[in-house]
Amino acid sequence: MEVTQRCGRIVAVCGTLTLWAVIAANPLFVVGAGLLAGWLLSRQILFVYRASVSRDRLTVDMLPGRTHVTAGETTPLTLAVDVAPPVLLSTSVTVAPPYNDAVTVELRSAESSASSVESLSWPVAGRYSLDDVTVTFRDRAGLFEQSLGWDGGPSIHVEPRAPRDVHVGEGGDALVSGFGEHDAGRLGSGLEPAEVRKYVPGDAFRRIDWKATARLNEPHVREFEAETDRETILMFDQRRSMATGEEGQQKLDYVRQVALAFVDSASELNDPLGYCAIGSDGVLGIHRPGMSAEILGSIREELIRASPMASATAGASATDLTTVRERSDLLAEDPSAFGGVLAPYLRTRQSYVETFEEDPLFQAIQTYAMGSSAIGWTVIFTDDTDRAELREAVRLASRGGRYVVVFLTPTVLFEPVSVTDVEAAYERYVDFEEFRRELAAYDRVDAYEVGPGDRLSSVLTAGQSRRRGQA
């Protein structure tokens, strides 16, 4: 419970009267001060009683217009407060949603309900709980206040702006099977039917396929695809080069969709999944392989929040990291429009778990992926900027019997190209395709291209036109 300035003034009046009683040797002042102090005490007792009653009767409802939004969208939030039957106490409920101004509903004394609808904007992807709720009771005389935390707000899932024409494939042909699906490479007792074969001694009777036996006139058993738990680790490149492309359609936005599909697949198939985010100076985040909902949820959250990271040491500036942080803290508190626009991005800045001086992708695979299970898979999401490093990284990842899948974003499909440059773009795409095939030719390595489908189509069409013209 907090006392207000108004309450303090009344206490001062009581104190003055008491002091005056002693100085003037007049007992009337003591009695008068006692009466006023009693009045104040009665107000305090009644406030505590009413606040307690009000809290028991209070219901706070937060109804977002949508619980799933895309980054940059706005959604209405209805905040409804109800105290029934009403209490002689004013109540205010304040919700502080991230990236938005606080939403407050005031319920005046003896009112039973009030509500407010505010529009909330969500500039940064992630999962946010509207649980920063404060309830404040205030007595009618404005003498006392009591603030309480209040739980139970809904969560808002803010999905990143996802590109709509994600192409995954090889040489312009789209990949048919889903990401994360995998055969065991052997037959067993799974769920997917594989083949029917003749019964041989030793087969369990329950595996006899009676329909096939009746049709073929001798005992047959049905084989199924065996299922395995495949340990997979996602190596997610967040270096500066992954920022190529328009806002919301950058390289990272495309590979993110593929990586999220792996998370969904791992969730469905109960495969253990690990995650390693790589920035320009090292590892940004690491999750050891696991199949619990918490781990998969965390990986999903990190993928949603992932953004390209520039090197902290890039450029000729002598500004050290501490200075940069101090300046960004200042900017985060800047009430101007400039500060307001930048603040969400400063809040979501990531720090490195481990830094490497050079070749962070290679070093990260060496440090984290190689320590995992020998029969696992390493899935690399990156681009074709540093081909030498990627070659070494893929070779390293495929050592010891591990399988590697590389999802590559061709830089040529993300750079702005004029109509006259389309032919040159085709040449660069052919160069990329040769590099992809080179990677795919390694043992236990698959390499796929990831990029905008319409852009790829236009580049391929330009290439076909040129070949026809040459013919």
Partner: protein
């Protein structure tokens, strides 16, 4: 603004408070003549412009001035009883349920009675003042501690 600290009720809704100020005017006049009545009238005027607590404080100073350092047992009882009537009258005028009225009468009356007993029984005035102030502060602190435990241990 509060209905108690700043007057925003109509006089029609403040019958008992008005009656309390009338009692102060009549009692003051009968005990101390014109000076006593003026105190009641000034207090009433103050109440029309200022929060009730300040009007009571002004009345208290006025009463002490006209009554002098030795007002006598009867005078003290009558005048302070009139001020008690003002405070309780305001509580009753403002409140809408019996809890408020009972707490208002009980606590204000109890504190006033304690103060009266203290100045009557304890010889040294400073000791009486200390006893009253200490008791009220102690009770206020207990209520505060109760609210801390009650609200912080039972947050929703």
């Amino acid at each position: 603004m509060s209905t108690s600290l700043v007057r925003n009720r109509s006089l029609r809704d403040s019958g008992l408070t008005l009656l309390g100020f009338g009692l102060v005017t009549i009692t003051g006049g009968s005990l101390y003549g014109l000076g006593g009545s003026v105190v009641g009238i000034v207090a009433l005027g103050s109440w029309l412009a200022l929060p009730l607590v300040y009007a009571v404080g002004i009345a208290q100073v006025g009463i002490a001035v006209v009554a002098g350092p030795e007002p006598g047992l009867g005078g003290t009882l009558l005048l302070e009883g009139s001020l008690l009537a003002v405070l309780v009258g305001d509580s009753v005028d403002e409140r809408t349920d019996w809890v408020d009225v009972v707490v208002g009468i009980g606590v204000i009356g109890g504190a006033g009675a304690l103060a009266f007993l203290a100045v009557s029984v304890v010889d040294a005035l400073w000791q009486a003042a200390l006893l009253v102030a200490g008791t009220v502060l102690f009770l206020s602190h207990r209520v505060h501690r109760f609210s801390v435990v009650h609200f912080e241990n039972n947050e929703q």
